[in-house]
């Protein structure tokens, strides 16, 4: 599968109330079915990038856009959010901000998006049931979403997006407010969705998870794509990360420390497993 699903061409955007910031993406293609991690410091343009895929930029924001973003054959600026929302689903950091509040319980909250797309009641019940099973919300189906933990609320938010069966799922720091248990839950869930062939764009500061799951990492800063590459390539490049106000993972920092002491010449490792292997093979006395 080498089909392009998202394509940016000479894309430029600035908000009318913020002259200092501009998102500027000359050319970017994202393959169908790929899992792409987006990293960058606060204010780099990560959220605006997500908005441009979703069509929130330009449709719901004031500003000026040049160039184009295509989702398969659809050009976002010529399309409507209603059409786009069936192609792309967006999950944001704060699950409460995307609750419609219209649903009295989790089931109804998840069904809310479907109602707006004119499905029959029978179809709706079937779809909602399926998604509740998939995401593991069965025991909460009749509870108010507002009574749930942050992790469960985020699952409801993801469920209410997934029920529309978008091909692309954009997640903008969805685990930012969650505890480790819920964070694990969300990453396990998106891993499953990837297996089902969804294209996933995942913004996160959690490099260890991204390294494990992503096919590709895009580093964004000051509104531009600074670098795009394999996770090992990006996460082992401590100077690239630090130039962009990002911190490397500690196992990687260990190899940098070894290099500083003249003990290491190869690429820095980026995971616990890789580090163990490298240390054992290079230093036989490390037991």
């Amino acid at each position: 599968m080498n089909q392009t699903i998202i394509e940016f061409n000479n894309f430029k955007w600035h908000y009318s109330n913020n002259r200092k910031f501009r998102l500027d993406i000359q050319e970017l293609k994202i393959r169908k079915g790929s899992f792409v991690g987006i990293i960058g410091p606060t204010g780099a343009g990560k959220t605006t990038f997500c908005y441009s895929i979703m069509g929130v930029v330009p449709h719901l924001q004031n500003g000026k856009m040049e160039g184009s973003v295509r989702i398969e054959e659809i050009e976002t600026k010529n399309s409507s959010l209603n059409v786009l929302s069936q192609k792309v689903g967006l999950v944001v950091q704060n699950p409460l901000s995307q609750m419609s509040g219209a649903g009295l319980n989790v089931e109804e909250e998840i069904a809310f998006g479907l109602e707006n797309h004119g499905y029959s009641r029978q179809e709706m019940i079937k779809k909602v049931k399926k998604i509740i099973e998939l995401i593991g919300l069965k025991e909460y189906a009749r509870r108010s979403p507002f009574e749930l933990s942050g992790g469960q609320q985020q699952k409801v938010a993801i469920a209410s997006i997934l029920v529309l069966e978008p091909e692309i799922l954009v997640l903008d720091e969805p685990t930012g407010y969650l505890d480790p248990l819920s964070t694990d839950m969300i990453f396990t869930l998106v891993k499953e969705l990837k297996k089902q062939g969804k294209t996933i764009i995942f913004v996160s500061h959690k490099f260890e998870y991204l390294n494990e799951l992503c096919d590709e990492i895009i580093l964004i800063n000051k509104g531009k794509i600074i670098k795009k590459g394999a996770p090992t390539e990006i996460f082992s490049d401590i100077s690239l990360l630090s130039k962009n106000n990002l911190g490397a993972m500690d196992v990687t920092n260990l190899f940098a420390r070894l290099k500083k002491a003249g003990k290491w010449k190869k690429r820095f490792a980026v995971s616990v497993e890789e580090s163990e292997k490298e240390l054992r093979s290079e230093f036989p006395w490390m037991r």
């Binding site: 930012g176 407010y177 480790p180 911190g247 920092n253 420390r257």
Partner: protein, 269 residues
């Protein structure tokens, strides 16, 4: 006796929901300690620290701050000793400018004008907010508002400072700022309690950690010892920091290693 906080058989039941959030919890904190409070959501962490600043009173048991039972004190009185930085800054911030927000605490505590100015300036400097002090708090993004919330507690110069999830939603740079703030408070001999899900952050800042599960204390030990109890941690789904997990794969390296430098030193000692 340099115990600044003493908690005796504390049980707390949320009457409205009839939920026992804390179940017979006992521990004490000595002056100058930096203690991490960890555990999943709903394990009772926030309920616990709200007893230390008097926002909640025990259903059973006692909480002493500086030897005085919190049952006998009003919150105003306790707020001279205990500063509490909320998890969500928007639950805390109410002023129209950052400087007003940060000045409110010390004014309320009745410090003199000159002292207030000193305290406010220092808090703004520590948090890197001095250049935006005239701004409305909501001119700044969420992660900076978290620093405003911290500054408005720092300016009260309390003996005890409690941080509730100070690094959530923070990027690398802001996280470094929060770590620096804690280092500085430590140097001043303040007693610090930190609720956090960020195990790297706990490893870097806390000498001691308390693990809560379903309202009970599961572990209470030095941070290195806590992260060595892999099996118990697993039951609460907490993962030791990455460098600690790597250390645990080698016999030569101490299982409670918490830093890159510590790991390196053991390779070449």
């Amino acid at each position: 006796m340099d115990e600044i906080i003493k908690i005796e058989k504390l049980t707390f039941v949320y009457q409205s929901a009839n939920v026992k959030a804390l179940d017979n919890v006992s521990f004490s904190v000595r002056k100058g300690e930096v203690v991490g409070i960890i555990g999943q959501n709903g394990s009772g962490k926030t309920t616990l620290v709200k007893h230390i600043n008097g926002l909640l009173k025990p259903t059973r048991g006692n909480v002493f701050v500086n030897g005085v039972n919190t049952k006998s004190k009003e919150i105003d009185e306790l707020s001279k000793t205990v500063g509490y930085v909320f998890q969500n800054p928007d639950d805390q911030i109410f002023s129209n400018s950052i400087i007003d927000e940060v000045s409110f605490g010390p004014k309320n505590l009745g410090f003199g004008k000159r002292r207030i100015k000193e305290l406010v300036e220092e808090a703004l400097k520590t948090t890197g907010l001095e250049y935006v002090k005239k701004n409305h708090p909501y001119d700044l993004p969420y992660n900076k508002r978290k620093l405003i919330a911290i500054a408005s507690i720092l300016s009260m110069n309390t003996e005890v400072v409690i941080f509730d999830e100070p690094t959530t939603g923070q990027d690398y740079l802001n996280r470094r700022i929060v770590i620096k703030i804690i280092e500085e408070l430590k140097k001043k001999g303040k007693t610090i309690l930190v609720i956090s899900h960020d195990m790297d952050f706990i490893a870097e800042t806390c000498n001691r950690a308390i693990v809560l599960k379903e309202g009970k204390i599961l572990l209470d030990d030095t941070t290195d010892k806590i992260f060595m109890k892999k099996q118990i941690l697993k039951s609460t789904r907490l993962k030791p920091p990455q460098i600690t997990r790597l250390a645990q794969r080698f016999k030569r390296i101490y299982d409670g290693t918490l830093s890159v430098e510590g790991f390196f030193n053991q390779m070449y000692k």
